[in-house]
Structure formats: C-alpha cells, structure tokens
C-alpha cells in the first residue's frame, strides 16, 4: 500500500505536487496544502513525480504492507 506524508513546516505552497498528482494533492484557501495519505496504488508514478518535483523536498513516500502486517501480528498475540 502506498503511503505519503508531507512536512508542512517545510512546505512553501509551490503546488508542484498539485500539478503532478492533482487527485492526491490540492491547495486549500490559496496556500494550505491538503493531501490524501493513502493514494491509490495506480497513482504511484504520479506521486513519485510529485515528490521529485517538490522544490523544498517535503514529501515522503513508502510502501507499508510488510510493516503493517508485522504490527497486526504482534497485536493479535496479546
């Protein structure tokens, strides 16, 4: 599963991510970036382009399946 987080302290609202992946990132009220933390896997290329295009490199991406499974496993043991 694709997951992202944006460091909004770093974000300066250049909106390059909005151009690269418009269904994942959007600008609210002129300057506030909002985004979907769990974009559909089919948007992976768009999201990677968005992260690469960010002038202040505020976007982190990862695939989480393995770790999440591990966490559920531990929780169930209790």
């Amino acid at each position: 599963m694709l997951r992202i987080v944006v460091d909004l302290n770093r974000c300066e609202s250049y909106a390059q991510c909005v151009f690269a992946a418009p269904s994942v990132f959007w600008i609210k009220d002129g300057e506030s970036l909002e985004y979907d933390y769990v974009p559909d896997d089919s948007l992976r290329v768009q999201v990677e382009r968005a992260a690469a295009a960010c002038p202040v490199q505020a976007i982190s991406i990862c695939w989480l399946d393995e770790q999440l499974g591990q966490q559920r496993g531990n929780h169930n043991e209790q």
Partner: protein
C-alpha cells in the same frame, strides 16, 4: 553498515525500548535504523494503531475528505521493530533498566526513549464529561467519533476553548455550514500561543466566517436530558445554549504519571532533559541511558536564555526524536545538541498560519509585511530588542528569511525595507496572558529555568485559575 558506524555505536547498546508509538517514537525508530543500529527496537504504545499523523484529525478528517484510518504514517525505512500496541507502560525501574506494561510484562533495555506525548485535557466534571455529545479531540478514534457527530448535522456545536484545536474545529464547522459557538476565557482566541495582538486578528477572522465567538466567557456547566444526551450549556455571562455537541478543547496534559517513583525529574510540565535529550534524575544528574523526545520533553534551548521549553509541535516530535536516536547510539563525544527552532502551522478560516521561533518568549510584536485587511501578512515577535519569532498569514514563503534572522539573533524591530511593509514599523505589546488565564494552552512555551522550582499550578489558588469553568476576573490571592 560500515565499520565506522559500528565503532561509533556504543557497543553495549543492544536493546532499545521506545515508549510512545506516535510521531516521535516512529521518527526515533527510523533514525536508529538509518544510522545503522542493528540491535532490537521495541515500540510500546497505548493505542492499538500503528503510528498515525495527528494534524489532519482537526482538519481534513473532520471535513470528511480523509477517513481517520488513512492517517497512518509511512515508515521510511525497514524498521524490524517489535510493536507492542494497545498496552500502556505503567512503570519504569531505573536500577533494573526495566519498563513494566499494564498487562504485567516487563521488558529490559540498554537505552530507553520516553516519547509518551500528551492527551487531551478532559472536562473537569466527570459526570458532565460523560454526557453523550461531549467530545475530545486528540486521537484517531476521537476524530472519527467527532466526524460522525458533525456529519449528522447537529443544530449547534459548542467549542470550549479558542486555542488551535478549538479554532480549527470551529473552522471546519463553518465549512460544513454548521452553527458554532466558541467560548474563550481570555480576551481573544489563540492568545496563549500568539498573544492578544495576533489573537485579535484571529478573532476577526472567526467572526467574519460566522462563528459566534464569546471571549471573556466560560462554560460553567453542561447539562443532559434524562437519556444522558447533551442538551444545554450554561455560560458565565448568564446565557444558556441549546446544543447537541460540545468539543472540549482545553489543551493537553502530559503523559508522565507512569514515571511515578522512577527517580526521574518530571512534573506536569514535562520530563526534564538536557539538550542532548538525556533525562535528568531527581538529583539533578543527567542519566546516560534514558532519553526524552516530543511533547513530553522539557529542555533548555540555547536561543531562549536557558529557559526550559515545552513544544507540542509536529516538527519538534520529528527532529527531537532524531536527535535523541542519534545520541542514544553514540559515544559521548559524538552526541549532538538539539537546537532546532520551533515551527508550527495551522489552517483555519481561509488562511494558512505558520510560525517559526517562540512567540511566547516575546514581549512585543510588529507587522512587517502585508496587511490585516488583505489577510496576508508577516509579523515579527521581539524580546528585549531581539527578534525571537515570526508569524506568517498566507505568506509562508517568507518564513525561512525570518528564521535566519531569529537564528542570527537579529535586532527587533527588524530592518527589512520590504516593499510590501508599512512605512514605519510600530511594535505593540504582544499581549500574552498570565499563566492559566486562557481556556487553552500555549502549545510552545518557556517554562522557567530549572528542575528546582515547583510548578505554579501546584498551589491551590492557581489550581482554581486552571479550572476552565472559573470566569475571567478571578484573582488568585
């Protein structure tokens, strides 16, 4: 891992426990692995979820754009961590180097990171707090519940406390076209974090967006019907509101109680640590194996004259945890000090608010660029002739320039010659209230110089000031 990494790591460190499975705990675990730690990492968390992000809980989750379960944070490196989720830690034995969990299990460690953060301050009357419709907002579950309440179309939402959480909830209510009342004991919203000068601007924004803002007012009681459903709120100005939802936004309480009798130096303001994130014990000695990061830490920042800071910011959880992780696995000579400037953002009522530095340290504030009328501005905060913080409203790109001035200890008011600035800079008092006067908490604040001074809220008169039901004008003797 290179051989130099191995040498750098204190070789005795094999087992690291992180108590707190939120942003700081996750950031520390990522940093440990990124820096080459190969021993065991155990992460203990009281909530049953993998680390998730809290900022959207008061924004996109409440508007319904983002499901609460979508806030799970990415894990940027393969952590190979053992996750013990849904069970809180209840004790720490320093001499045995053991953490005890609520289910009785004990885990030994070589290094411990305490990142237990905060919880929402509850409504002081527990029977009223239990009424159906009285909500808190801190966790993913809180946000999902409040989202369901707002989606059901309540006739009026009451927000108790005009801090950042309260203001963001009110903003979402107006976006959803819900009728909302905000009560705040002091004279403006956001006064605890930004002072009354900036708070007046925040109050104007709220009113312009249709919020029924009641400052200098407290809620004296909440009342339910025979089925235990919230129905009324009684205000200190004599008014009674018909409501079905009340959001208690009174700030945060630090999760330190589990450290009782541990021998660490802590109180309700946080756990005292040095700038390398090592916790102090009650004898005033820095421990070598207990580290602290995030909302629960209280430490001296070099830019703020040795005052111990507490900072409940997203960025602080990330950066302080990374520093702690580095120092946990480093030989003493390789440890580094944590001196990142506090930084914060909020979205509410059509504007993006961002700060850098520590506004609560300031005595004066000055508008340096833009204007209140345009709702685009930069304000600089000063303390004794030096710039200590800056606030931007829809002008975030200017913030790094001000950050550089703060780090360089530039004079206040700053000399800018900005083409969009006023002809003459006119500093005004920043207007921070005495401790305990506002309904909400300041988010980031200096808390006094050291471990030997007892916290002001421990005296009984101050406890009364802290009670959010006590109306303004109460004078402690």
């Amino acid at each position: 891992m290179s051989s130099s990494d191995t040498e750098k790591t204190a070789s005795s460190v094999q087992r690291i426990i992180i108590v707190g499975a939120s942003l700081a705990g996750l950031s520390a675990a990522e940093a440990l692995r990124s820096e080459g730690f190969t021993g065991t990492i155990t992460v203990i968390g009281d909530e049953p979820y993998a680390p998730y992000d809290r900022p959207p809980l008061s924004k996109t989750v409440l508007t319904g754009l983002l499901p609460a379960e979508h806030t799970t944070l990415p894990q940027r490196v393969d952590l190979h961590a053992e996750w013990l989720l849904g069970v809180p830690a209840i004790g720490l034995a320093l001499e045995n180097r053991e953490v005890e969990l609520a289910d009785g299990r004990r885990f030994g460690f070589d290094r411990l990171l305490i990142a237990t953060g905060t919880r929402a301050r509850p409504w002081p009357d527990s029977a009223q707090a239990a009424l159906d419709g009285v909500c808190l907002l801190r966790t993913r579950d809180d946000a999902a519940k409040l989202r369901a309440r707002l989606a059901a179309g309540p006739k009026r939402v009451l927000v108790i406390g005009g801090g950042f959480i309260g203001s963001e909830v009110a903003s979402v209510c107006r976006e959803l076209d819900l009728t909302v009342t905000v009560t705040e004991r002091s004279s403006t919203p956001l006064i605890g974090a930004l002072g009354s000068a900036a708070g007046m601007f925040a109050g104007q924004l709220q009113c312009a967006h249709g919020v029924d803002l009641r400052c200098n007012v407290t809620i004296t009681a909440l009342e339910g019907d025979e089925n235990g459903r919230l129905r009324h709120a009684y205000l200190s100005d004599g008014d009674t509101l018909d409501i079905d939802v009340a959001v208690v936004a009174l700030g945060a309480v630090r999760n330190v109680e589990w450290l009782h009798d541990s021998g660490l130096a802590f109180d309700s303001r946080g756990i005292i640590c040095d700038s390398t994130c090592r916790a102090f014990n009650t004898n005033g000695m820095a421990t070598d194996n207990i580290f602290v990061a995030g909302d629960v830490a209280r430490w001296p920042h070099p830019l703020y004259e040795g005052e111990l800071l507490t900072v409940e910011h997203w960025g602080n959880s990330v950066e302080q945890a990374r520093t702690a992780a580095h120092n946990m696995m480093s030989a003493p000579a390789d440890r580094r000090a944590y001196e990142t400037l506090p930084a914060f953002w909020s979205r509410q009522f059509g504007v993006n608010l961002k700060t850098v530095g520590l506004p609560t340290f300031a005595d004066e504030v000055v508008l340096t660029q833009g204007s209140i009328a345009e709702r685009r501005l930069v304000a600089a905060y000063g303390h004794k002739g030096r710039i200590v913080a800056a606030l931007t409203v829809n002008m975030a790109r200017w913030l790094p320039a001000y950050k550089a001035m703060i780090e360089a200890r530039a004079p206040f008011p700053p000399v800018l010659h900005a083409p969009d600035g006023p002809a003459e800079l006119r500093p005004v008092p920043a207007g921070f209230p005495p401790r305990g006067q506002s309904t909400h908490s300041p988010i980031a604040t200096p808390t006094g110089p050291g471990p030997s001074i007892s916290p002001p809220e421990e005296s009984s008169t101050s406890a009364k000031v802290q009670d959010p039901r006590v109306p303004p004008g109460f004078q402690p003797k």
